[in-house]
Symmetry: C2
Subunit: 454 residues, 2 copies
């Protein structure tokens, strides 16, 4: 099936902010963006309002007024921003967020990950977990996600169905692992891994034939859990289909030692993937915390992509490598006294810290590059698709009441902030209370409803 078109054309008015370059945001005030029924941006107009649009813009686009849905950002408290791209999400581990205790990677897998993933072979349970995972992502402005599901085909297909019906742009990967996993959670053979991967690809083709919203993604879990033969066969599928791929690399020092033991003939962890044909521009490598210089060079040469995962790295103490906010704080740690980069000069240290502008770039255009969609999403340009969020930050009233108990959000704007400061306060203090509306491919897929649940 091809994706359905939207009922109406759309015009958005107000303030639009997006990344111009890695270090710079562009602010478009009093602007208009028009989005057609395929969800594509067809006009970005500075100095435009509803009257001007009605007078000239719509005519230029061949639009008639009754066919247009209009959305405004209101005053200085609201702005449109590109949706966030999360290049690495274990949807199946959503129930375990925050349960890290004193574990590091390898015992986390055995204690929490594998039992939870295995249990999602129950479709009612998988539906409950995945629905909430997708909703929380959308509610936080994540319009695109690259998901790991589980080894179960039906459950993986359900995740794809839910992303499609809930409207999130997604890469959905059936996890391949034929080695070293627990007996109760392991592909029984290489052929099983391959057949199961193909079954999910075919299922996604049946719901979204052009992979326009939902795409399969070939997903060998990580080298310690994959036989060489399985990786080679996945590489063949990838060469035939040109589908994206994802795996983990060099997240934890014990994991690296294990890879060395399992693949004694390979020069490095990265070389294991390269030798099995998995290292190319379609590969998303998650974590990549402890790469050697040679590995980094090899990955760069093969044009493979890296997903950063700062929240997971901190929680599991894997290294310094949720969210844009946490990436910023983690980068600050690098240059502290005692941090790995503290020996740099003060100027180099300042460069090593990620700025607010840089983390926002990474969360939008950077993420789009990693998942191979840089031409489609990540910024507000004609030809790109309308994957966007409307942000709202509270303004503290001039006469604020002592008994005002309303829980607006944690972003308190007083009105004297510059736009840069306003954005910094949003990045540092914001959460899903600030995300008022979310669109993917022009479709409104989330709208904030605040309510107490009992």
């Amino acid at each position: 099936m091809a994706l359905p078109k939207l009922d109406k054309n759309q015009a958005f008015f107000g303030t639009f902010i997006h990344s111009k370059s890695l270090g710079e945001l562009e602010y478009l005030h009093n602007a208009a963006i028009c989005v057609d029924r395929s969800g594509t941006i067809v006009a970005v107009e500075p100095n435009c309002n509803q009257q001007k649009a009605a007078e000239t813009l719509y005519a230029r686009l061949g639009w008639s007024l009754e066919d247009i849905t209009i959305t405004m950002s209101r005053d200085k408290r609201q702005f449109f921003f590109p949706g966030f791209v999360d290049a690495h999400v274990h949807a199946s581990q959503y129930p375990n967020i925050g349960i890290f205790g004193k574990t590091t990677l390898l015992d986390w897998l055995n204690t929490y990950t594998f039992p939870t993933e295995a249990s999602l072979a129950s479709l009612p349970k998988a539906r409950r977990v995945y629905t909430r995972c997708i909703r929380q992502g959308l509610a936080h402005g994540t319009t695109t996600a690259a998901y790991y599901a589980t080894i179960d085909v039906n459950s993986t297909n359900l995740l794809a169905d839910l992303c499609y019906s809930m409207g999130q742009r997604a890469f959905v990967g059936r996890v391949c692992m034929d080695h070293l996993g627990p007996d109760y959670y392991l592909d029984e053979s290489v052929d099983h891994s391959i057949a199961a991967t193909q079954a999910t690809i075919e299922h996604i083709r049946s719901i979204d034939s052009g992979f326009e919203l939902i795409s399969p993604i070939i997903t060998p879990r990580f080298a310690p859990a994959c036989s060489g033969e399985m990786m080679s066969k996945l590489s063949e599928i990838q060469k035939q289909t040109q589908l994206p791929m994802q795996t983990h690399i060099s997240e934890n020092v014990n994991e690296i030692a294990l890879v060395k033991e399992l693949f004694p003939d390979r020069k490095s962890y990265a070389d294991v993937y390269d030798a099995h044909g998995l290292l190319n521009e379609k590969m998303i490598l998650a974590h990549a915390v402890h790469l050697t210089e040679e590995e980094a060079d090899l990955i760069a040469e093969r044009k493979a992509k890296v997903a950063h995962c700062p929240c997971s790295n901190s929680a599991l103490s894997s290294g310094v490598a949720r969210a844009a906010r946490h990436a910023k704080l983690v980068s600050n740690h690098l240059i502290m006294p005692g941090g790995a980069l503290h020996d740099l000069s003060p100027e180099e240290r300042d460069k090593a810290k990620l700025s607010v502008e840089e983390v926002l770039y990474l969360a939008t255009r950077g993420g789009a590059q990693v998942v191979g969609l840089a031409d489609k999403i990540g910024g507000f340009e004609v030809g790109k698709q309308w994957d966007a969020q409307l942000l709202h930050t509270g303004v503290v009233p001039d006469e604020v009441a002592e008994d005002d108990y309303i829980n607006y959000s944690n972003v308190d704007i007083f009105g004297w902030e510059t736009w840069d400061e306003h954005i910094a306060k949003w990045v540092f203090n914001g959460d899903s209370r600030n995300v008022r509306k979310v669109w993917v491919r022009g479709r409104l897929v989330h709208e904030l409803v605040l309510k107490q649940d009992g």
Copy 2:
């Protein structure tokens, strides 16, 4: 004035959780806690419900049913927890939360801190900032705060008034700085620092004569901004009044170099305070990131207290030293490859990481010790005061709707979690949406109202 008594006695029923020791939480299920009209806990009853309480407990306390307000925690989704103690808050810098950019401590002071603090000499502006700061603290469960205000006496007194009327337990410090600050924000003389400090002490005495809810706190900003004479005179006031004190120490390496330059005769930063009579069991030292072993020994010998400040340290890249959650993540960084404590053995590394139980202890009983209130707050025991919060975490429905857009909170409980896991998910994902009610000294000072602000 003495504090007014509450209208009624109170009984709380349900699940109560508090720290038993640094590493262990105690869970009291199906329990009751009774709080009298002075806000003091007079009974902690395991295995008790409303009927049992009506039959025996109230009679034992000499209470009649019509004089009791009852509050329940409902099922597994709600529990009572002691209020949090924040041992170091710059109320006057509340508008700058999140605006850290690429700054480190000393330029942060000149660029953001001093101009903002100076501007709060305007009382309407100070009221707006302080009201919101106190409300956000209460909304997040912070029942006690040790505040730095500004050098302005009227504005500092206003902060004390607002804490009193809004019901937050607070230490309110008029900032003393007669050295090195900008011309527009500096005490004109030692005598001025001392007179202004005494004026704030007298003001607080006029609103809360026993310092039962609001206490003055003697506040030399930090050694670089204080003359030796001023510090010695503040020490005299402290010896006469036995009031608590607060200052900063060893937050940043450039700051430490500056102290060495300004006080060449002193052995260390800690020795500067000790030599001026400021290092005793009533002193709260904020940050203390880069202490030498000798300084740590001196501080321990003098029984001075340390406030940790992990959020600020990360944001300003000061070192490794918001919130309980961030303390945990920061401690994880210490033991990572490249982290300052990575050379420890795996067992020692596990010990160096703060556990969920430990950060909760630090945020309650630990904070109470630091501010000198360990006998009054921090846990649920007879004789302690009812400074508490009622937490609520959402339960994902068995059949969750794909179009359920309601923004409950980020803590999604599925129902299969153990209590330890439930608490870990709250610590890692929780925010003010989970804080339903907050009491200080038995008075209900916050109750969640969820509403969109436009």
